[in-house]
């Protein structure tokens, strides 16, 4: 198991190949962020009957590059009240995990460089998916510390929202990811892709629910619309990065779009079969890469489409959706899949297993709904109590 590159021990050639892969992935990410921002702006303007950027380069494709160059030459400001060291650290805490988490994405099949076989994937650690979840947890620190160290109100509010939102939705996202892990019986992304060979994509093999939950939770995790309360312009100016300018702001911007690409790439890996696709005669090494990118672009288009269509959620709606709907649904679906797998392995009657699971599901749903109703009533009662108090004070 693992990358065949390391099977014969590690020598200079192996190190060089790994370095080459690092460079390629790094360059690929930077270029794809440039293209992604352009793609998003173009698609959104299409959906709004506008033209979008069309000045820099053909169809405005160099617009992001121009914006980037402008940002690099702008003045770097730091608020007087800022915690200087943390303020400087935060953009890197945001950008580095964004870069690192892409390392585990398989972008193609096995290729051979200079007589060595290797996966078209920067790293295939046995803990693969856990690494991704760890990186997305660290990214929370980038956002939180940025808001906290700015020494300013709106960034702080944005950061508090961000950390609450990202921590809540990480649970639902992890449970959805766990379903895919369960199906492949492995944490390694390469194995997960292998287990989906010949069209048994997790998208339908797992019943669609984990995919939908992953999409919603993933969108919330990277703070994209309609879950962009973190940087809700109308309320919080720019959210956690209000006080950032110049290259530090560029890093946050880069991280945000890199996270979008990574979340989409992970979705492709976990649920859409990664680079799997119909093999075509000529250039057999090329086609998996093409399939991967086609799926990636289709997925990114859906993200942009979501942003163009849906209005932003209210904060309590966001929390309700995360805690009261997504997490129970993801948890139940994970247990259902686990029960079905265990039943299959033990040779139990699948119909009985399914029936019992559904009955438990309904029971759990009833209990949950009851508990929520009780909680709601409590809240309303205490709200009424406060209202009476306020009125009493007013009359006395």
């Amino acid at each position: 198991m693992g990358d065949p590159l390391f099977e014969d021990g590690i020598d200079l050639a192996v190190v060089l190949i790994v370095l080459l892969k690092v460079l390629v992935v790094f360059g690929f990410l930077l270029v794809s962020v440039l293209l992604m921002i352009w793609f998003e702006r173009k698609v959104i303007s299409d959906m709004q009957s506008r033209v979008g950027p069309d000045r820099a380069g053909p169809w405005g494709i160099l617009q992001t590059l121009a914006d980037g160059i402008k940002l690099f030459f702008k003045e770097d400001l730091m608020p007087e009240q800022a915690d200087r060291r943390v303020f400087r650290l935060a953009p890197y805490l945001s950008a580095v995990p964004a870069f690192a988490s892409f390392a585990i994405i398989p972008m193609g099949g096995t290729i051979s460089i200079a007589g060595r076989e290797t996966y078209l994937q920067l790293a295939d650690p046995p803990v693969g998916i856990l690494f991704l979840l760890a990186m997305s947890s660290i990214a929370v620190y980038g956002v939180m510390l940025a808001g906290w160290s700015s020494g300013s109100k709106y960034p702080l509010l944005g950061a508090v929202r961000a950390s609450a939102q990202m921590v809540s939705y990480e649970a639902a996202m992890s449970l959805a990811v766990a379903a895919a892990v369960l199906a492949a019986a492995s944490l390694s992304t390469h194995d997960i892709v292998q287990s989906q060979a010949t069209w048994s994509w997790n998208l339908w093999a797992l019943g669609g629910v984990p995919f939908l939950i992953y999409m919603v939770a993933g969108t919330a995790e990277i703070n994209r619309p309609p879950f962009d309360l973190v940087e809700a312009e109308q309320e919080l100016v720019g959210g956690f990065h209000t006080e950032y300018s110049s290259i530090r702001f560029a890093l946050f911007f880069l991280a945000e779009f890199m996270n979008t690409i990574t979340i989409a790439a992970v979705a492709v890996t976990l649920f859409l079969g990664g680079p799997n696709g119909p093999a075509i005669g000529f250039l057999p090494d090329l086609w998996p890469v093409v399939w991967f990118f086609l799926k990636l672009v289709a997925f990114l288009f859906v993200y942009v489409w979501l942003r163009a269509t849906l209005p932003r959620l209210r904060y309590d709606q966001l929390m309700d959706l995360g805690w009261k709907k997504l997490i129970p649904a993801a948890l139940y679906w994970l247990l259902l899949i686990a029960a079905l797998r265990a039943g299959r392995d033990q040779g139990w009657n699948q119909g009985v297993v399914l029936g019992v699971s559904l009955a438990i599901g309904v029971l759990g749903w009833v209990i949950l709904a009851g508990a929520l109703r009780v909680g709601q009533r409590e809240t309303e009662d205490s709200a009424q109590g406060e209202e009476v108090l306020v009125r009493g004070e007013a009359t006395s």
Partner: protein
């Protein structure tokens, strides 16, 4: 379909025609009474209309006009009256093109052309002097290097002032109550509100 209707709407929009006017290459025609850069007019005999009364400066809400009047030299008078504006400056970093100066002017000396594409690159260029604002000997506004004049920009300058009688009474509609201008003569009255089909 409830929730999914919005997705259909946004997707269908991709194939709709764009509403954008591609501005620098494609320019929309300007409205008849567009407020642009000012011009200082002259009478048909070449005399300046400005009498240096400073009413425009007094009425200006942005305080962008600076005027100083002086007595006309008896040998070669600049304006037909007693005094003339020997300093006349408009700061276009402050001007909001409200046209109040045009309304205040008792001699129709200052009017607004339709030129709005003048992007100076320093503060000195932003302050237009009397020499720059004054029309030339043919009655045409002077074209400064950073100004993008289009045909028709100098026509109908603040036509509505001339179309409306001083009292605002409809009885004055169509009657010429204004003096001629160098290069244009006495401009014809606008087609009136009582005959809306006759608008140019």
């Amino acid at each position: 379909m409830g929730y999914l209707d919005g997705f259909r709407v946004t997707f269908k929009n991709i194939f709709q025609p764009r509403v954008t006017t591609r501005y620098p290459t494609e320019k929309r025609p300007k409205p008849l009474r567009f407020h642009g850069r000012h011009v200082l007019n002259r009478y048909e005999d070449g005399m300046e209309k400005c009498i240096g009364c400073e009413l425009c400066a007094g009425v200006c809400p942005a305080r962008c006009i600076y005027v100083r009047g002086a007595d006309n030299p008896p040998d070669e008078p600049v304006s037909p009256g007693e005094r003339y504006g020997f300093v006349y400056e408009i700061n276009y970093l402050r001007c909001i093109h409200c046209d109040l100066c045009v309304e205040a002017c008792p001699t129709e000396a200052i009017t607004e052309s339709k030129l709005f594409e003048f992007s100076f690159t320093n503060r000195e260029d932003a302050i237009y002097t009397r020499e720059e604002l004054l029309v030339d000997d043919e009655g045409q506004p002077k074209h400064l290097p950073w100004e993008d004049w289009r045909p028709g920009d100098e026509e109908h300058t603040s036509g509505w002032v001339r179309a409306t009688a001083p009292s605002g009474s409809a009885a004055f509609e169509g009657k010429v109550a204004w003096s001629g201008e160098l290069g244009f003569g006495v401009r014809a009255p606008e087609k009136g509100q009582s005959e809306p089909e006759a608008t140019d």
